[in-house]
């Protein structure tokens, strides 16, 4: 960036998402939104310095076994061992490098290691269901875990959440912060899940579903799933160098 020629601050601009890409905050099918979704219209905030920067959280946050949820305890957890891997990209296809990825999930029986989760399914003393890793130079991440079970909740009659893994991502700017859920292909519970179906566009919903990938499956060891995550892309600023990002 040539600040000499830029009398005013030239900051990158992150493109707005389409309305159909994300669930509306007020989604009546998901009962908990009723008292929590803001009722007033959002106020447009032009992106300035605080919005186009963001925390750079380093390797110091991640322990050696944090990416492997099957090796954090005295013995292995029960359940189907899986590898979940993919890339974190921005909307222009650029890798989001060296960014923190946090995951959490229920155990194979569908129960979280959380005091508030007390439905009658067993806890697993060898499974906390929490992982962290940093993406590499290509934006790639990899977790080893067990496939989470589905679990019931009280949203509607005979309500069950499809199996999912929660993902938390920072990207490189405050604008890119994203928390989502990764689902598994062909889950028979999708039809009745108001959280999954709150995303209006079926093509957008499909972007939350991982793919079974036999090239990731490890012989005699674990099934493989791939899940790429796309954060907001940005428009080029007039003074941005052609190779600034790569």
């Amino acid at each position: 960036m040539d600040t000499e020629r830029a009398p005013r601050l030239a900051v990158p601009h992150y493109r707005h998402d389409r309305d159909t890409d994300h669930p509306p905050l007020a989604s009546p099918g998901y009962g908990s939104t009723a008292l929590r979704a803001p009722a007033r219209p959002l106020v447009v905030l032009p992106q300035r310095l605080t919005e186009i920067t963001g925390p750079v959280l380093g390797e110091t946050r991640v322990g050696e076994l944090d990416h492997d949820l099957t090796r954090q305890h005295a013995a292995e957890p029960l359940g189907q061992r899986i590898v979940v891997t993919g890339r974190v990209l921005d909307g222009d296809g650029r890798a989001v490098r060296h960014t923190l990825v946090e995951v959490w999930q229920a155990n194979a029986a569908g129960r979280y290691a959380h005091a508030v989760d007390n439905w009658p399914a067993p806890l697993d003393p060898n499974f906390a269901g929490v992982g962290r890793t940093m993406t590499d130079d290509e934006g790639r991440y990899r977790f080893v875990t067990v496939k989470p079970g589905a679990y019931p909740w009280r949203n509607h009659d005979n309500a069950w959440r499809p199996a999912h893994i929660h993902f938390s991502l920072f990207g490189r700017a405050f604008t890119q912060r994203l928390v989502t859920q990764m689902y598994f292909p062909d889950d028979p519970l999708f039809f009745q899940d108001p959280i999954f179906n709150a995303v209006p566009d079926p093509a957008a919903r499909a972007r939350m579903v991982s793919a079974y990938d036999h090239t990731v499956t490890e012989s005699q060891w674990a099934l493989g799933f791939t899940f790429d995550i796309v954060l907001r892309g940005r428009d080029r600023t007039p003074f941005e160098d052609e190779h600034d990002d790569d």
Partner: protein
């Protein structure tokens, strides 16, 4: 130009976020004992005025000199003079919906259109029942003149501006975030 990709949709953090997103050092934007450090304390409340006990509040801010140690700041990445300055704070909410962040007051910032932004924190709120994070800002009560000239506050209906300005508290600042209701906090579309 590479091909454009469509974004991954947002989903709620759900009720069990504490198991992963609660960091021991989460509230510390600056290390304990930092000169000028103060606590920002508040509650997240729902439309009935009840506490949100399964929420997460995250903050992001410049350092006291108004700088970011970040490559996209067109003024250049600048390490803070405060050792251990992270700029980022994270607090889960407790049973009473309370959060707490230990921080310093950021400096004012030049705005791309030529104005000056008053010291502020950008804030994300996530919770069960929020399918997407909501974004707000927190301004400082001891900066009335800077707040008066702030372009973001100026864009907000004057009757709602108080929802963006903290009040003085016993060990720093107090600020409740109301997701809904009569005094609903102003939330922004980024």
């Amino acid at each position: 130009m590479t091909d454009r990709l469509q974004v991954t949709p947002s989903q709620t953090v759900g009720p069990f976020l504490h198991i992963a997103l609660q960091w021991e050092d989460g509230p510390y934007v600056v290390p304990p004992g930092t000169a000028g450090g103060r606590w920002l304390r508040g509650r997240v409340l729902d439309g009935a005025g009840d506490p949100v006990p399964d929420g997460l509040v995250e903050t992001w801010q410049a350092d006291p000199d108004g700088r970011f140690d970040h490559p996209d700041d067109p003024r250049g990445a600048t390490a803070s003079a405060i050792e251990g300055f992270r700029g980022f704070g994270r607090s889960t909410t407790d049973r009473e919906g309370r959060f707490e962040i230990f921080t310093v007051k950021p400096g004012p910032l030049p705005a791309p259109d030529g104005g000056t932004e008053a010291p502020h924190l950008d804030v994300s709120v996530l919770a069960r029942g929020l399918l997407h994070r909501v974004v707000t800002r927190i301004y400082f009560p001891d900066e009335p003149q800077a707040n008066e000239r702030d372009p973001v506050l100026a864009s907000v209906d004057p009757s709602r501006r108080p929802t963006l300005v903290a009040t003085a508290g016993p060990d720093g600042l107090l600020h409740d975030i109301r997701l809904q209701g009569e005094h609903e906090t102003v939330f922004f579309d980024l």
